[in-house]
């Protein structure tokens, strides 16, 4: 653990990407091989299952530290990190040992399902024998929330440098659901961890378009498609394997049984990139409907009928077993449409509609995105390959401006991690007659300096405390941006927002100038009205259709 802790400290002690990469590269060259595999797993989100739940951990830690549980909780609210709180509160270790990362994680895995006394004994003994840094990391492994300030891309680059394998190839080898407990470093980096037949490709990602689209050059170089609000996914149909992967590399094949028939119809050696949406017959249903499906391992029949999954295909990454990612998009798209056109009707799969046109036509097309249940347009360069990860320049997301509402802050709560000790999580209200009705929370969108100023303000304007939550004088007005709105019987306001965030702190506005609940209800009526309008089914039509046709 000391070696792993040294890596963690080196990564934590610098904000410079170059130094982080160098530290990781060095580690991947010199650490014990089994430890390297676990490090790759941790940095790519493959965490071992939690052997201990947070409540147990808090209780054990408070007792070991000799503080009452309430004081432990107060400390946690300030530190904003459970692993750190425990590490700081425990008495200094009585003696120090240095088990390897591999041994530690295997021991933790072995604890799963054991009796509480046995799990507690192991955790307490580890606490007593680990130094402060190792103890913090041990707690991180226990709590499962493992972030080291290292992106997956950076980790892949370091691994590529350490092994001499090309970065994109390495990214591909790390995809899929390989088990770090049973994967050797050499196999993982030379052949790939997961079984080749089901392994997805690294997803290509887009950057937000901030400038005017004209800055991208002639519109004739670009393909436009709807930016759907669903689950980005890949369908793998190879001989001996059928798999559906989410962008987060979760295997979701079993969660969408309606896609099972595709394995009988897609030609072997086919990989599609697309969006899984809940389908209303002619257009996607709101994301909330799809949300009911997420996280369910088995799907009740009723839900299957209410929110059937549909795959809107964007791209063809592999055909006849041949990797097409270096083929220009224009050709991939033609082949995609040809492949899907040859399938029998009635399958939950269709090409996501595309459009070509001048920037004026595309701009007006984008303006109507919400009526089509889309968030805006994607712009993809027709000559571009399918990149590994986010490569700026060929893929842009050109989203609609968000809806906005001016609201007043009612409650404030301190954030976690990097935002510990700073009030960053706010609950907002709009006016309803003489009342203020809370309707959303938001956490992001302000600068650190603004959060610090608001934190000072909260300290002086607290009316009531409920644990970590402060009720404050309803005085600060914010412009809240959001992507969608829907009815929600679970909320007092009767509405729920999609992706709410703070666009601006309206220091120029007073609380009597905020928006009303009636205003939000009007918006809800307009928006749901739009969704009820039957839209044309995404037509497969040959490329290029004209914009109105999309």
């Amino acid at each position: 653990m000391k070696r792993f802790a040294a890596l963690f400290n080196a990564l934590d002690a610098t904000t410079k990407t170059g130094e982080k990469t160098a530290a990781l590269t060095q580690y991947f060259r010199t650490a014990p091989e089994a430890d390297r595999v676990w490090t790759i797993a941790l940095l790519s989100g493959r965490r071992p299952k939690r052997a201990v739940n947070a409540t147990e951990l808090r209780t054990w830690a408070a007792e070991a530290a000799g503080v009452p549980l309430w004081l432990f909780e107060e400390s946690y609210n300030v530190a904003g990190d459970l692993a750190e709180t425990i590490a700081r509160l425990l008495p200094l270790p009585t003696h120090e040992t240095d088990p390897s990362l591999d041994a530690t994680i295997r021991a933790l895995i072995a604890l799963t399902g054991r009796h509480e006394a046995e799990r507690r004994a192991f955790v307490s003994a580890s606490w007593a024998a680990l130094g402060p840094d190792e103890r913090f990391l041990f707690n991180k492994l226990l709590t499962g929330g493992f972030r080291m300030g290292v992106s997956r891309g950076l980790m892949t680059r370091a691994l590529a440098q350490a092994t001499g394998v090309e970065e994109a190839v390495m990214a591909h080898r790390l995809m899929g659901d390989w088990d770090p407990a049973r994967t050797r470093f050499a196999d993982l980096t030379q052949e790939g961890g997961s079984e080749g037949a089901a392994r997805p490709y690294p997803f290509a990602l887009a950057s937000p378009l901030e400038a005017a689209p004209e800055s991208l050059g002639p519109a004739t170089d670009w393909l436009a498609e709807w930016k759907w609000d669903g689950i980005r996914g890949q369908i793998i149909a190879r001989s001996g394997a059928f798999a559906i992967w989410s962008r987060g590399e979760d295997l979701i094949t079993d969660r969408f049984p309606e896609f099972a028939p595709l394995q009988d119809h897609l030609p072997p050696g086919t990989v599609l990139d697309g969006e899984i949406v809940a389908w209303g017959g002619t257009a996607p249903l709101p994301f909330a409907d799809l949300q009911k499906r997420i996280g369910r391992k088995t799907v009740p029949k009723k839900l299957l009928a209410e929110a059937p999954g549909h795959f809107l295909a964007y791209d063809l990454l592999e055909s006849d077993g041949i990797d097409l990612r270096d083929t220009p998009l224009a050709q991939r798209r033609v082949r995609l449409e040809a492949l899907l056109a040859a399938l029998p009707p009635g399958l939950p799969l269709s090409p996501s509609p595309v459009a070509l046109g001048d920037w004026t036509a595309l701009t007006s097309l984008r303006a109507g995105a919400r009526d089509r249940m889309a968030e805006g347009l994607m712009l993809k360069r027709l000559s571009s390959p399918y990149h590994t990860g986010r490569k700026r320049g060929d893929w842009w997301k050109w989203k609609l401006d968000p809806f906005t509402v001016d609201a007043v802050m009612l409650y404030a709560q301190a954030g976690h991690g990097r935002r510990a000790n700073l009030f960053t999580d706010f609950t907002f209200a709009v006016r309803d007659g003489n009342d203020l009705v809370p309707f959303t929370k938001a956490y992001s969108g302000l600068t650190d300096a603004e959060f610090a100023e608001i934190t000072r303000w909260v300290g002086k304007h607290t009316l009531e405390r409920f644990g970590p939550v402060r009720r404050v004088v309803p005085e600060l007005v914010f412009e809240i941006g959001f992507e969608g709105i829907q009815a929600s019987p679970r909320h007092k306001s009767g509405i729920a927002l999609r992706f709410p965030r703070m666009l601006r702190w309206r220091q120029d506005k007073a609380v009597d100038e905020i928006d009303t609940l009636d205003g939000l209800r009007d918006l809800l009526r307009q928006v749901s009205g739009a969704a009820d309008v039957p839209a044309d089914e995404g037509r497969t039509g040959a490329l290029p259709p004209d914009p109105q046709d999309i």
Binding site: A13, L71, E74, S75, A79, L89, R419, F423, A452
Partner: protein, 352 residues
């Protein structure tokens, strides 16, 4: 008027029988000041009384004030009460203030730390019936390592930076922390100071505090003229054009708040050194016990949980609302919001 010896008003802690306030935050006729930090020694009072050691910096910061210095331990009758000042160990010249009337004793701690830093007059527990204590770091999260350990870390960091051809910029508050750090460190190269730091350093040195030689950063003082230098500057100078004159450099902040990883990361700093002029959790508990007080009032810091903790330990505990810096969530100040002075100093030095 309350029959209590000290009462809590919207101007500060008040002694009716003596007709004075302690560290008031609004202008009053007569103010007893625990130490020179700007949230305790404010402008606009009619008459100031502080330790002799605290006075020069206060005069420098507050300008033309009507003030008097008193020796540590020297009893002084004011109205119907007797007051005296006792070392608080917070910064040079800092004091706890003892107030006695007919055998009843109250002590106002001001800011304090228990560890002897070798520069400030070391903290002395003062027996009392009622103790008004700060609790800036009043949670068990905060446990300081001995300063010798931090001194070693700091020295190793400085030496490593110098070996790699980088300047070392250390951010610290201008009164107290900055001077504590320069006395802690071994002579491993020149120490350069930002104007705001140099002013207080010069005043303290003139008073007789044993401080190493420092060089004020002016035009022409940079990484070329002083390779391998340690630069001590107020926190607000980090990341400014002022700091860029030192070329490739490593920056760190020395503060008790650096104990929390989230805060360190939020500041975007490579390194933070956990060293504070306030008492940590064990320090607060030790200090309170040593007074023998049965009644404790807690002020600026984690007051709510700290009071509850003291009650569970059997104390009669209360909270005093004050307007000193270092509100529990306002983590940029370590109860020493010299930010106004600092930003002025930064502006000044940019013009150099």
């Amino acid at each position: 008027m309350s029959a209590e010896l000290l009462s809590f008003t919207d101007r500060g802690i008040y002694c009716a029988e003596g007709g004075f306030y302690i560290d008031p935050w609004r202008p009053v006729d007569r103010a007893l000041i625990t130490h020179g930090h700007s949230d305790h020694a404010r402008w606009g009072h009619g008459h100031y009384l502080s330790t002799k050691q605290a006075l020069p910096v206060m005069r420098h910061r507050l300008g033309d004030i009507f003030a008097e210095g008193i020796a540590y331990g020297e009893p002084r009758q004011i109205g119907g009460v007797q007051v005296s000042f006792h070392p608080a160990g917070h910064v040079p010249g800092s004091a706890q203030i003892r107030v006695e009337r007919g055998g009843e004793v109250w002590v106002v701690s001001g800011d304090y730390k228990v560890e002897d830093d070798g520069l400030s007059e070391a903290f002395v527990p003062v027996p009392c019936h009622t103790f008004i204590t700060e609790c800036t770091f009043g949670l068990p999260l905060f446990r300081w390592q001995p300063q010798a350990v931090i001194a070693q870390q700091l020295a190793a960091w400085w030496v490593a930076n110098a070996a790699e051809g980088r300047s070392t910029i250390l951010a610290a508050y201008g009164l107290g922390k900055a001077q504590r750090l320069m006395t802690l460190l071994p002579d491993a190269g020149p120490i350069l100071t930002h104007g705001a730091v140099e002013e207080t350093t010069r005043i303290l040195r003139d008073q007789g505090y044993n401080l190493p030689p420092t060089i004020r950063v002016t035009a022409g003082v940079d990484a070329k003229s002083h390779p391998g230098a340690l630069i001590i500057a107020p926190p607000s100078a980090l990341g400014t054009p002022w700091a860029r004159r030192f070329g490739p450099s490593a920056e760190a902040f020395a503060s008790g708040w650096m104990a929390l990883r989230g805060i360190r990361r939020r500041r975007g700093l490579d390194t933070g050194f956990v060293i504070s002029d306030h008492a940590d959790w064990p320090g607060l508990n030790t200090a309170i016990r040593a007074t023998g007080a049965e009644r404790v009032f807690v002020t600026h810091g984690y007051t709510t949980p700290f009071r509850r903790w003291l009650e569970e330990q059997g104390y009669d505990a209360g909270i005093v609302q004050t307007e000193f810096g270092g509100d529990e969530a306002d983590t940029d100040t370590e109860a020493e919001p010299d930010s106004a002075a600092e930003s002025e100093a930064v502006v000044e030095s940019k013009l150099l």
